[in-house]
Amino acid sequence: MNEQPSPTVLVPNDYKSAVKPVWCPGCGDFGVLNALAKAMARMALKPEEVAVVSGIGCSSRIPAYTACYGFHGVHGRALPTATGLKVARPDLTVIVTGGDGDGYSIGGNHFLHACRRNVDLTYIVMDNRVYGMTKGQPSPTTETHWTSKLAPHGTGVNEFHPMAIALAAGANFIARGFTGDPNGLADIIVEGVTTPGFSFIEVLSPCITFRPEQKDWKKAVRPGNLSSTADPTLAARQIFADDGMNLGVLYAGERPPYQPPMGRASKGIDDLEAQFTL
């Protein structure tokens, strides 16, 4: 056995762990996990050089289902955790995952600042327009008139528009995918990860338990209907005419990512001490 092992070609399943997901049968998040695994295989990433970071919610369970390093933190704080990790360890590929409640409600402020800061992260939000883990409350993207136990007459509140917010706040890459199209979604994830800076990917991921009507999304989505541009004005025009079912890349900018230099010491600690010595 003196032969050198030949370089192993990793397949999507090599990026999945043995942990069984807690998701309901038919959950859209299975497709996102598949697409993520496909995307990593296409990029030939080493699993140990990828970190998947999340907050709380059904979709935030994804890290443990991958074979990568994972961090499953507290509700709403995936983006800061991932930002700290990427700035401290720029050599890693850092992917952030979560849902609409985690990202747009409790974590909304971080979403704004992650877009603005433009650290080289890829943020995949599985949007099902409902809080699934707490069993069916309206989220920021829930339609105004959708009724639930918590809001029997509907929310009466306008829906959040994530892509418009991401564009306005300065995200460098903005796209929408659909879990029912794992290959198309994998393409988008590859493009998001390989585009420097903050990449925001909205994924329509139906909750068949609390929003069974979302099963119809597969008939409603229009793959390739968003046309990629580096012009924010054109992107804005597209997004405000959008009904939420157009798929593809909306915007791919050229803003350089934020990465403060790290690891180049110019002084020793003794030099710092000297300033205090009389």
């Binding site: 942990v19 080493k46 699993p47 140990e48 050089e49 970190a51 998947v52 970071v53 369970r61 890290p63 443990a64 074979a67 990568c68 390093y69 994972g70 961090f71 499953h72 933190g73 507290v74 709403g76 704080r77 983006l79 800061p80 955790t81 991932a82 930002t83 700290g84 990790l85 990427k86 700035v87 401290a88 360890r89 050599d91 890693l92 402020n109 971080h110 704004l112 600042h113 403060p260 230099p261 790290m262 690891g263 180049r264 010491a265 110019s266 002084k267 020793g268 600690i269 030099d271 710092l272 001490e273 205090f276 010595t277 009389l278």
Partner: protein, 581 residues
């Protein structure tokens, strides 16, 4: 006011306290910093704190300076000199600047009478035409005239004063030249009589430092290995961050400004998960926002350090004043059973050692550490002996590459399990705030919960913390237990007590959690009664200790809310009364 010739006592004093005050823009802080540094250059120990009005910029200000032949890390009971560049709104500092009965008030008659609240103290007035003298110097300013006058009054050598002036103003040659001339004019204006006298500076060969607690804490962080900091600005911790930002960069680290404290704590958790020792600094309101994620760091076993430069609370409280009111939240603010480290530096210079130790412990034990500094320690600038900074053993235990069947949260004997750093082949796992198995897989099983709880408690309780857990001084059948910035006035009260006080032990706790019950009990062996001294309204340390262990039945609490530090005299008087009780 009594005529100045009434001042006759010119015994050399080992400690003199001077307050410089004036309206915004009068240059009080510049003059104060130069006076402090001049005293330091002249070989004295010294300390300066500052107080200012509520205005963001341009409000009245006071520099409180103590100069001594012995190490000092707190203000004295009373001030010997109050010197006003002018008197506009200076009455607001009356509570902070109690004057000696035989003290001196120095002011410009053109600014009017000194505020009645000071004039009533019995202090004598020395009138100096500061403005007029300044006018005679091209570019001269009244604050520099006053500085020269006060320095001459104290007998500080010319060379030390010129050197300090150059040290602070040297970057602007024109301003420096005018300032030196104004200082000289102030010196020349001193009266022929001596009013006050400072004992000769001690001869020393030891290196002295001029440093604030916030700077010392920043240096301690770097010496402990911190290379990633994320933080949100907050008074009175901001200077720590502003010192760290360029310092970190120069040693190959990075500081990231977060959008809020929820972000900053999670950013450092992320950085530390990536293998880089990480820290944030904040104050009470920020610590409150961080507590949920500190619980995450406990559960996920991710080392982080939070320096809480405590200010008066609750809520916005008094951001510019000190209080030891965050002890409860630091000890008990986390939900669930979440064992973690709480430390407290007990002096300006000790901020270095304690912060460094906190980083070392957090890294060794893979858990969060909260360092309870406070506004007084953080913002006081002191001329001190080079602070103690012994080498500290301990580092993060890392998993080796290619481990077979890696279990991140393995139930080891010590409770500390090897941590795989992203990038390490064979070590992939998901760090989780959910309760988990040894492998890190989420689990809702009671047995897994019990096992992981026990692991996380065991690693903290079985660690040998050595001698740094407290400063234990003195002998006797009574003892004072205290922490943080209360330590210096207690220490000074005991040192100056002479024969009027029975021998008393001082125990200043540096490690507040986990409480070193055994060591504390040993330090209290033979002690009949205990006094717990702290700066908060409810007696947080007193109740914590009483709840945690058996103390002598005769254990009492001396406490006061913040915004006004204890001084040695009032503690000495309390101890004298306690001695008669």
């Amino acid at each position: 006011l009594p005529d100045h010739t009434a001042v006759a006592d010119v015994r050399p004093r080992s400690s003199l306290s001077i307050a410089l005050a004036g309206s915004g823009g009068a240059g009080v802080m510049t003059a104060g910093n130069i006076l402090l540094e001049a005293a330091a250059f002249a070989g004295y120990y010294a300390l300066m704190t500052r107080s200012s009005g509520p205005q963001i910029r341009g409000g009245e200000a006071a520099a409180m300076i103590r100069i001594s032949t012995r190490p000092v890390e707190c203000l004295d009971d009373r001030f010997h000199v109050l010197a006003g560049v002018d008197w506009e709104n200076v009455h607001r500092f009356a509570a902070e600047i109690p004057l000696e009965e035989d003290g001196l008030i120095i002011g410009d008659p053109a600014s009017g009478e000194p505020p009645a609240v000071f004039a009533g103290s019995g202090a004598a007035l020395l009138s100096v035409p500061l403005g007029q003298i300044a006018k005679g110097v091209p570019g001269g300013r009244a604050n520099m005239v006053l500085l020269g006058y006060v320095a001459a009054l104290l007998g500080l050598p010319d060379a030390a004063l010129s050197r300090a002036t150059g040290s602070l103003l040297g970057k602007r040659p024109a301003a420096l030249e005018a300032s030196l001339a104004a200082v000289a004019a102030g010196r020349a204006a001193q009266p022929a009589d001596r009013f006050i006298s400072l004992a000769a500076a001690p001869a020393t060969s030891r290196a002295r430092w001029l440093v604030t607690g916030n700077e010392a804490a920043g240096l301690g962080a770097l010496k402990g290995g911190v290379r990633f900091v994320a933080a949100y600005p907050i008074t009175p911790a901001t200077e720590l961050l502003e010192w760290l930002s360029p310092a970190l960069a120069s040693v190959g680290g990075v500081l990231l400004q977060a959008e809020d404290e929820l972000a900053s704590i999670n950013m450092i958790i992320g950085g530390s998960f990536g293998g880089v020792p990480a820290l944030t600094a904040t104050s009470g309101p920020g610590l409150a926002l961080m507590t949920e994620s500190l619980g995450l760091a406990v559960a996920a076993e991710t080392p982080v350090v939070v320096v809480d430069v405590m200010r008066v609370g609750p809520s916005t409280g008094i951001p510019t004043k000190s209080e030891q009111g965050d002890l409860n939240i630091a000890l008990h603010g986390l939900h669930g059973d979440a064992p973690h480290l709480v430390l407290a530096p007990n002096g300006v210079g000790d901020c270095l050692q304690t912060t460094r130790w906190a980083v070392t412990l957090a890294e060794s034990l893979q858990t969060p550490a909260i360092v309870l500094s406070d506004q007084f320690l953080g913002q006081a600038r002191a001329a001190i002996d080079r602070p103690a900074d012994p080498p500290l053993a301990g580092a993060r235990l890392r998993a080796a590459p290619g481990e077979d069947d890696y279990h991140r949260y393995a139930l080891t004997g010590s409770g500390v399990s090897p941590m795989a750093i992203p990038g390490t082949p064979g070590g992939t796992y998901t760090a989780d705030g959910l309760e988990h198995t040894e492998r890190g897989t989420p689990s809702s099983q009671a047995a897994d919960h019990a096992a992981q709880l026990d692991k996380r408690r065991r690693k903290l309780e079985s660690h040998d913390y050595g001698d740094l857990w407290a400063d234990v001084e003195g002998t006797g059948e009574q003892a004072i237990i205290t922490f943080g910035s209360c330590t210096a006035p207690v220490r000074e009260a005991l040192a100056g007590g002479g024969t009027t006080l029975p021998p008393t032990r001082l125990i200043s706790l540096r490690l507040l959690a986990p409480l070193q019950r055994g060591r504390l009990a040993a330090a209290l062996a033979g002690v009949k009664r205990v006094l717990v001294v702290e700066q908060n309204e409810s007696g947080q340390l007193f109740h914590y200790l009483r709840g945690a262990m058996d103390l002598p039945a005769d254990t009492t609490s001396l406490r006061r809310p913040g915004a006004q530090q204890f001084n040695p005299g009032e503690i000495r008087r309390y101890l004298e009364a306690w001695g008669r009780a």
